[in-house]
Amino acid sequence: MKYIMLMQFSAAQTDFPGIDTWSAEEVKAHIEFMGRTNEELVKSGEFVDAQGLAMPDHAKIVRANGGQAPLVSDGPFPETKEFLAGWWIVDCETPERAVELAAAVSAAPGPGGRPLNMPIEVRPVMSAPPREV
């Protein structure tokens, strides 16, 4: 079964400063951790995809009602308290294993090398074969 692990940043649920305030060593350690995580996922035969998203400053929200020209608003959106920083898609044997992997990335090193304790949302990707009814 495939699972997506969403790295969902939220001002309310994170208690560390933004990565743009970290020292060079702290940033390096964090990036190396992420790289190692991906390598280990490939080695364990579970890696499907991993992507980081550009900061919300680059976001645009597009809405169209099918008639008039679409409405495009540019980020950043000060009212947004949460934003998606990136995701992994893993293919693993059990839901417990997906939780274990999410726990590992939640504890990625942050300022002072301390675990970030980031909230990671884990959801199954719908990909089961349908049954005849």
């Binding site: 490939v42 080695k43 035969g45 890696f47 995809d49 293919d91 719908m126 349908p130 005849e132 009814v133």
Partner: protein
């Protein structure tokens, strides 16, 4: 054989595969050597020593098992012995690939690679994971077999039934994967169903007297026969009751029905044979109202006594509803709700929804369809269940 000599499953398996491919290419021109099996081992051993890893052979999608020379074409005097040996090596590789120490996903990948002869790229595409991930999955499966010290030989008489059950289960899982709707650019997941049929045919050639092997093959043929009618133009799921039966594959049905009829008449009945029999009853009916539901109910009754699978009881409830009316089936479903394996399973709610709809309770049926839609992990199934709920309103 080579695995025994070198004690290295991975290398031996690659070498045997290459030797068989070489034989398949060479024998038509040069004729069959006096001692084909000895020749194969010689070639395989040479390749192992040279550590030849030909990318070309990896890319080739040859089916080792299917391409093996039938027994009646061996010209050496000890023809039967030679065939036996060859047969055993192929079966041994298959038993190892489906070893119970492997997880199902590992066993599936290893079987497709080592016995089916699919390339790693093809398998990766079929399961929609990167090639590097699939390569690691296959290599870890081989390592696991090595580490667990499973001997490279046929299972003993005591282990035989259990180990064969693992093999058949892996083949069945490969077949089911073929029913996922999404498709990669090269190998469609649907092709996995055909791959599973091909492999099961090959196993049947190797074990012609095993009734469950025949039962599984019949089940696959009789299920695959309905594929053209199972989905509409937009990939939407069409239930059995509403399928255009003229689209069913008559040849596959005829082959499957002949096979299961002959098999049931012959030996020990097992779960795959009973499921094939159910499928045969469906496939032979001109319409849902012409279906012999009492027979299906009886078959599920036998199956229920043979297996501890709550899905069987679920199917028996539906058959009971079709035979005796929806109230009977709904009562049986209520009794199943206490089974923890079923309580939160979408199929329990989907079955209840169908029976409630049969009973004319539209709003309760719609509610059950929506519950099932929330629980399913299959996108086409969710689409079907939501459509069904919407049709009923409420």
């Amino acid at each position: 054989m080579l695995g025994r000599r070198f004690g290295d499953f991975e290398t031996a398996e690659d070498a045997v595969q290459e030797a068989l491919l070489a034989a398949a290419a060479q024998w038509p021109h040069d004729g069959v050597p006096d001692n084909p099996r000895g020749w194969l081992i010689q070639v395989a051993a040479r390749r192992m020593t040279e550590q030849v890893r030909s990318e070309q052979a990896r890319r080739r999608r040859e089916d080792v098992v299917v391409r093996q020379t039938p027994a009646d074409q061996w010209s050496a005097p000890s023809a039967d012995d030679e065939y036996e040996g060859h047969r055993d090596d192929t079966l041994t590789v298959l038993f190892l690939c489906c070893h119970p120490s492997l997880t199902p996903t590992s066993a599936i990948a290893l079987t497709l690679r080592s016995v089916g002869g699919l390339t790693t790229t093809e398998i990766a595409n079929a399961f929609m994971v990167p090639e590097a991930t699939m390569a690691q999955r296959i290599s870890r499966a081989k390592q696991r077999i090595r580490a667990s010290n499973v001997p490279f030989r046929m299972p003993s008489a005591e282990e035989w039934a259990g180990r064969l059950r693992s093999v058949l289960h892996v083949l069945y899982l490969i077949f089911n994967e073929g029913y996922a709707g999404s498709a990669g650019p090269e190998l469609h997941r649907g092709d996995l169903a055909w791959e599973a049929i091909r492999l099961t045919r090959a196993v049947r050639e190797l074990l012609p007297d095993d009734c469950e092997v025949a039962g599984l093959l019949a089940l696959m043929l009789l299920t695959e026969a309905r594929r053209p009618a199972r989905t509409g133009p937009a990939g939407e799921l069409i239930p059995l009751a509403e399928q255009d039966r003229t689209l069913w594959d008559a040849d596959l049905i005829a082959e499957g029905v002949d096979l299961i009829t002959a098999t049931l008449a012959r030996g020990t009945v097992g779960p795959y044979q009973l499921q094939a029999a159910v499928s045969a009853v469906h496939d032979e009916a001109a319409g849902v109202e012409d279906t012999d539901w009492p027979q299906i109910l009886a078959l599920y009754g036998l199956l229920e006594r043979m297996s501890d699978n709550p899905m069987v009881s679920l199917n028996r409830s539906v058959a009971a509803a079709m035979t005796h009316g929806p109230a009977t089936g709904l009562g049986m479903l209520d009794a199943l709700e206490s089974d923890a394996r079923l309580a939160n399973h979408h199929r329990l709610h989907a079955a209840r929804a169908h029976l409630l709809e049969m009973a004319g309770d539209r709003s309760a049926a719609a509610e059950s369809y929506r519950t099932a839609a929330r629980l399913t992990m299959s996108p086409p199934e969710r689409g079907y269940l939501l459509t069904r709920a919407a049709r009923l309103g409420g």
